[in-house]
């Protein structure tokens, strides 16, 4: 059995229209198993920090991260209420179904 979310890729197309991504530093809050993270990586940001409170989901995301994205994408377990990042370090923050 398999579940495919957004086969038409409408979500990532809307995100591409919403802002410029190339070369940007991006934080994704609520990354889950990394479904959207990988699509965001395809938009060309310099770096993606992705965070989710669920450790099992983050483990799955790390395991599924293709080698070509390993230098740009970093997954962490953590809460949106206390982000483990310095002030003013991201160009874009995505609340991915997380607010």
């Amino acid at each position: 059995m398999a579940m495919i979310v957004d086969p038409q890729r409408r979500e990532v197309r809307a995100l591409a229209r919403a802002t410029a991504w190339r070369g940007k530093r991006v934080l994704e809050i609520g990354c889950g198993d990394g479904r959207l993270t990988l699509r965001l990586a395809g938009l060309g940001p310099r770096r993606i920090a992705a965070i989710d409170p669920d450790a099992a989901s983050v483990r799955r995301a790390r395991a599924a991260l293709p080698a070509r994205h390993r230098r740009r994408v970093e997954y962490r377990v953590g809460s949106a209420l206390r982000l483990p990042y310095r002030a003013r370090q991201f160009d874009c923050v995505v609340f991915a179904w997380a607010l």
């Binding site: 038409q8 979500e11 003013r88």
Partner: protein
């Protein structure tokens, strides 16, 4: 939620953008068949209290001028499932995140429909994307 938005404001550089991506507060529909062949089987009965709370939090940070709202987009997002087991898993995941009454009726109706017309199960619902530009 307001605190999470303020944390996002803290880590954003001046002029940066926060993208609030989440399902719209509308009932998701479940059907069989992809694309134009999609046929409605049932409408979910989820509650929207958390969505409305998130809307209020966004309204508050806009009012307090932490952010300025950009142009909103709305699009339909499909979730394609191979079988009733996937639909059961999806509903169970839903129930972990928020209060949701039993949807056994929807599972049963979908299984009956699949017996008549085999095909992919597709959960469908609108998703909103709103840019919030950091102020200050």
């Amino acid at each position: 939620m307001v605190h999470a938005l303020r944390e996002a404001h803290r880590v954003l550089r001046p002029g940066g953008v926060l993208l609030d991506l989440r399902p719209a507060a509308e009932h998701r529909r479940v059907g069989i068949g992809e694309g134009r062949r999609w046929r409605l089987i049932g409408v979910m009965r989820e509650g929207f209290e958390e969505d409305w709370a998130a809307d209020r939090a966004v309204a508050q940070v806009l009012r307090e001028r932490w952010f300025r709202a950009g142009r909103r987009q709305v699009f339909v997002l499909d979730r394609v499932m191979d079988g009733a087991g996937d639909l059961r898993t999806w509903i169970a995941e839903f129930q972990q995140r928020r209060a949701l009454a039993s949807h056994a009726w929807l599972l049963a109706r979908t299984e009956r429909a699949l017996e008549r017309t085999p095909g992919a199960i597709v959960g469908r619902g609108p998703v909103r994307l709103r840019p919030l530009h950091r102020l200050g």
